[in-house]
């Protein structure tokens, strides 16, 4: 078996709360191959973002911690790595683009400096070399007149420009893994498309594996090779993106896919009501019951769903789902 670039095994992340320790992510395992684009999909609060932070060893501690499992980057465990080693990995082997370009850049330093210091932190380069590199990166992410822009401060740039700068920071050390946590949620639709074009373009040039975290199914369909669906801290379905769109197995996944509104050009067409999944994501502290976490919102739930949580089982070649409907038909 070839070793994967990144391998997450039985990951569990816990947070201390007034009501005791709760698990916000449990039994999460996935693999990421070189050059692959993996989508992680789910509603807000399902554990996507905290999973991303755990890959960088940045789970806020206290109150959070990785309480079980391993995160192997080329065989090296990130969970047990020293802070010094983690610093070498962050920004260099694994880097991250955050959701909020407006607040993720430091307001008091020029964007050039914020790119260059990342290069200086990981390579033994001089100030002027790092600055040259920063300008190159600005050019690469499609910022016009980069020599001039490098001297500007974040407040002088638009949201899309700032996200391009964030991407430049993330890619300056040519990481093996790039994590993008809802990178376009805060941006206009037209800018979103530009940013994703940029991601695709850069992936060809740099060849990094990408983990794309999003709740936008359209983005998943366009960008990713493989998809993981998370619900209430667990992985409930996994498979290639085509199967995810055309033949979702888990009722929750089906719900997500059906939530995409369709455009209709026929004015006489009576628009069908928008589809929604009833109910809300359970809070982590509600998850002490042994039932399937999705059962209260599932229209196909039957007796077994309320008794036992379904295991994640293979349903087809390269696909898995955690749903009793797949294995035990209601009788």
């Amino acid at each position: 078996m070839t070793q994967n670039l990144l391998s997450v095994q039985d990951l569990e992340i816990s947070f201390r709360t007034v009501a005791g320790e709760v698990q916000v992510v449990r039994d999460l395992s996935f693999e990421l191959a070189q050059g692959e684009v993996l989508g992680i999909v789910g509603e807000s609060g399902c554990g996507k973002s905290i999973t991303a932070l755990s890959l960088l060893g940045l789970v806020p501690n206290p109150p959070g911690r990785v309480s079980k499992g391993r995160i192997l980057l080329e065989g090296e465990d990130i969970v047990t790595a020293s802070e010094r080693r983690l610093r070498q990995i962050r920004g260099n082997d694994i880097s991250m683009v955050f959701q909020e370009p407006m607040t993720s850049l430091n307001p008091v330093y020029s964007v050039g400096e914020q790119i260059a210091e990342t290069a200086r932190a990981h390579f033994n380069s001089s100030r002027s070399e790092a600055w040259e590199r920063a300008i190159e990166m600005l050019q690469l992410v499609g910022i016009p007149s980069p020599e001039r822009r490098a001297h500007e401060f974040p407040h002088q740039l638009s949201g899309g420009m700032r996200q391009r700068v964030m991407i430049a920071i993330a890619l300056v050390c040519e990481p093996k893994v790039l994590i993008a946590d809802e990178p376009t949620t805060a941006l206009d639709v037209t800018v979103q498309a530009q940013i994703f074009d940029l991601f695709r373009d850069l992936q060809h040039k740099i060849g990094a594996a990408i983990i794309l975290i999003t709740h936008d199914i359209g983005v998943v369909a366009q960008m990713t090779d493989r998809v993981i669906v998370m619900y209430a801290g667990r992985k409930i379905e996994e498979g290639p993106v085509s199967a995810f769109i055309t033949d979702p197995r888990h009722p929750y996944t089906r719900g997500l896919v059906n939530c995409i509104p369709r455009l209709s050009l026929d004015p006489s067409d009576d628009p069908e009501p928008l589809f929604e999944i009833p109910g809300v994501v359970p809070s982590p502290s509600d998850l002490s019951l042994p039932r399937c976490a999705f059962a209260p919102r599932c229209r196909n739930a039957f007796a077994l769903c309320l008794e036992k949580s379904p295991p994640l089982l293979p349903v087809a070649e390269g696909r898995a789902a955690a749903c009793w409907l797949e294995t035990e038909k209601p009788g």
Partner: protein, 328 residues
């Protein structure tokens, strides 16, 4: 060069508004003081132990106090505009000379106290913000509470009792000993020795404020998204805290330091009085008791001048630290 043009323009605009403000302060102050009951001659006569009505009338005429109020104020304003702050009735010296001779000790005291407090306070705040439940963090909280609650003269007297009376390490009062030391170094050492207690007293009050401010500001900044970005880049802890966090956290400290430095004179009155420090604070206090109107007005005018000048300097410093100010 192109970049500096708007800065120059906004500084010029500021200076214009400052001049107007100073004029308003001047008019208001003189109206208030001249309209207050009692005059310098009464105080003078009181100190002399009484005088004949003829002498009193003569004194009043000499100082122009027999003229109507609006004339007195008018003459005063006219003089100030020409750079003449008047003549002290008690010290028999020009007020400008008097202020010039007292400003040195006050500036020495204030700068020592304020700058040590800002430096120590920022360090305490930065460390305690990183470990919010540590002993140091609790110490900062208690210190600031105590510093806010304890009156400054009480702290001064307690320090005198402890470090001058019980353990006579530092002199009780004054700025120099009268033992006639002549060498410059000896003089400087002597002044420094006298400076410790008053600067400590004033500094403790400031320290309470700045450690608290630095702690709050730093805690807020450490939660910011750009700090998470800095950590995700793989920067060292030192770089995250001192380069990325501190530079942002220091902005409110600069603001308050500028404001407070402008208020030096009112801030130092109590400390200067307790320690008989020969500065502007003591002079102001004595002038009130002696109804020395020109001196008092001069000091008030000088204080407001300090406030506006310091605000202007703070503004300029702010532009250097925070690039967002330049364009707005």
């Amino acid at each position: 060069m192109v970049k500096s043009a708007p800065v120059v323009k906004s500084v010029l605009r500021k200076i214009a508004s400052i001049l107007l403000l100073l004029l308003a302060v001047l008019v208001l102050n003189s109206v208030l003081i001249y309209a207050a009951p009692g005059d310098p001659v009464e105080a003078l006569v009181g100190e002399m132990g009484g005088a004949t009505p003829e002498l009193i009338a003569e004194l009043r005429a000499t100082y122009g106090l027999d003229r109507p109020l609006w004339q007195q104020i008018g003459v005063y304003l006219g003089n100030v505009v020409q750079g003449d702050l008047g003549h002290s009735l008690y010290y028999d010296q020009p007020v400008t000379t008097l202020i010039a001779s007292r400003i040195g000790p006050t500036l020495l005291l204030i700068t020592t106290a304020l700058f040590s407090a800002i430096i120590v306070g920022t360090i305490l705040g930065v460390f305690s913000a990183q470990r919010r439940n540590s002993t140091l963090s609790h110490f900062v909280t208690v210190l600031s509470l105590a510093g806010f609650s304890a009156p400054v003269f009480w702290i001064g007297i307690m320090l005198i009792l402890l470090l001058s009376v019980s353990f006579p390490i530092f002199p009780i009062s004054g700025m120099t000993s009268s033992d006639g030391t002549t060498s410059t170094l000896g003089y400087a050492m002597d002044v420094a020795h006298h400076l410790v207690l008053p600067a400590l007293t004033l500094g403790l009050i400031y320290l309470a404020f700045y450690s608290r401010l630095a702690r709050t500001s730093m805690i807020e900044v450490l939660e910011a998204d750009y700090i998470r970005t800095a950590r995700a880049k793989g920067l060292s802890r030192r770089s995250v805290v001192y380069k990325h966090a501190l530079r942002n956290a220091i902005l409110p400290i600069v603001t308050f330091a500028g404001l407070q430095f402008g208020q030096v004179i009112s801030g130092a009155v109590l400390v200067e009085t307790v320690f008989a420090w020969p500065g502007l604070g003591t002079l102001a206090f004595d002038s009130i008791l002696r109804r020395d109107t020109p001196t008092l007005l001069g000091i008030l005018f000088f204080s407001s001048l300090m406030v506006v000048v310091m605000n202007l300097l703070t503004d300029l410093l702010y532009r250097r630290i925070d690039p967002r100010i330049k364009t707005s």
